[in-house]
Amino acid sequence: MATAPVIDTPPATVTTAPAGPARKGILSHWRLYAAISPFYLLFLAFGLIPVGFSLYLSFHRWDGLGSMEFAGLSQYRYLLSDSQFWGSIGNTVVIWALATFPMIFLAMVTAVLLNSAVRFKNVYRFAYFLPNVTSIVAVAIIFGSVFSTNFGLVNALLQAVGLDQVAWLNSPWGIKVAIATLMTWQWTGYNAIIFLAGLQTIPSELYEAARMDGAGPVQTFFRVTLPLMRPVLLFVLVISTVTGLQSFSEPQVLLQTTDNNSSFAGGPGHAGQTMVLYFFQQTFDNNDFGYGAAVAWGIFLVVVLFSIINWRLVQRRGEE
């Protein structure tokens, strides 16, 4: 409700009627509230109420159609001792790390190259951005072929350099690497564009000064470019954490064919089952909506934890 005074500050222009005393209260500003209400109404209908309902649901047992049965804290008690849920947190974090760090490195390299490219600049930018707007389902199906054991591209390359085949989609680490590669492929271009924008804000005088002081290209990169890119780097890290913690389509489509019974199981040993995938399995495979809601709140807490870590990182940056 803090919005009202902000809008009210230039009162004369908002309304020609004599501005009444601020005391008159909220009602006198009903037009303004009405004007901003669509967002709040939509948020209420599609955000707040479902969130509140899921909290309510997590204290119940419900099969989605019949009557609900109060279950107290038992869903949460079960969640805490659920090794598959903890495993899914581990999977999510490992896949996120396997995807994010190579992705940031590659994006940075790409951005520096793009920044110094002379010809076809826009063509390159478009080409690098393309993976990000490609349908994830189509991509996952292609990657399923790329990582298949006998006729996959990856194993063909491995064999070409004299290495053994790896059963990518049949081994716990292979699955994680395959998913992470997919995510890296999809996000590198997008983040390279963001890095490129960051690079272009660095004033050229700084580079000139560095050159005058006799710094080589490597030194310039590490002493000038990288420190000035820190805020952008942090932004990319935060965004990739958000997307990484929600990863769902990538493992779901990539691994659904390996499993006859559930498209949410995440492959052998649940090696590719992320948190959101586990939530789907419990809710929609098992029709266990109460427990599904509890899992969702568990995921929420994990996201909060990561947000705090991110926030601390940003805070410390601000204090420096």
Partner: protein, 428 residues
Amino acid sequence: MRLSRRSLLRAGLAGTAATALGGLASGCAVPTGSTGRNMVLWYWSGGLSPKVLQKAKARYDSAVNLQAIQIGGYYRSKLMTTMTGRAHVPDIAGLKGEDMASYLPNSDQFVDLRTLGADRLKDRYLTWKWDEAIAEDGSMVGFPIDCGPVAHYYQPAVFEKAGLPYEPDDVSRELDTWEKFLAAGEQLKKRVPGAFILTDALSIYGISVNQTTKRFVDKDRHFIGDQEHVRTAWDRAVEATRRGLVSKIVNGTPDNISATERGLLPSQLNASWAAGDIKLNTPKTKGKWRVANCPGGPSNIGGSFLSITKACREPEKAFEMITWMLDADNQAQGFVDSVLFPSTPASYRMAKLREPDEFFGGQITMDVFGPAAQKIPVAFNSPYDIALKTPIDDELRNFSVLGKDPDQAWKDAMSKCRRIADHLGVSY
């Protein structure tokens, strides 16, 4: 043109008011079911024959306007959401066979088809299929569409090369038990290097369980997944893997298709509808397949139902329509159009179902599927089956794919089941 702030505000206000009012108005007027002449039917891609739907629309056009809507994505959750929301509920809803157990406890959401006179049609349909749609309170939730009798698809040329029987009748007769089937697998492996009789361990396990009359949770909400029928199936899958008869190929990958085309996976145990998948995925193998009886006896995978929801305004008309759409003639049409295997035995004798199939070397596949469909054992499917079969599937995969010790895997599966049973209120 310059917009003044005031006019902008006014426009915004008017827009908001209109949205809010419109929302309220439509909010009050959301129909639970369809209105007037509309008869809305929900199904999924391949769930019903498009031709039969077209004919039904024309046939009943004078009375109702049949709107058959094909729902994409995760069908069950969309139907459940709509029913729980009590708005725009379809009059007629398709129910998938594997979801049946989760609808049956909520039979109050559907019209009991017995009240519309379903019983007089009972003898025209497969008994076990009919019984699958009966809820615990005796009400009938769904009307049988199709079923999925399991058969043994095989490539005769490869079997001949391995010195195995290769004529359908001989395969049916000589590979009639699992022991003989596994022995054949061993011979195949020896004579045809790189060939496997089983693609994965889970299919032989799953089919073995389906060949029995029990599943994972019984009528009294008691866990029975630790009993002999499951253990035997588990042991069979473990034995097949240990004897090296199971490939490492992942289903649905190019590896699978290539190996199938090259005759390295010359055998598939699968439902009648899988013939469509084989034709679609490996068109080059046309003429190289035959169908025989599944070792160990008949079983079923999949098959669905049509239901009339409580929101339906004209249940009598709806019942008339679904019984017409699912009579023996139209079910035969469904098989021709969409490989929906009829649940009406009378269809099996019809000429259009007895046409030689060139993909199967001119074999009349109905000779195998028809008798199998009529001998499928009846089992009770519990709404808790899915939750309690998953740990066993998972652990079997841990053994067959990741190489976990099978005894440990079974123990872990059972302890997971115990935990889940406890959580769901299923006695152990």
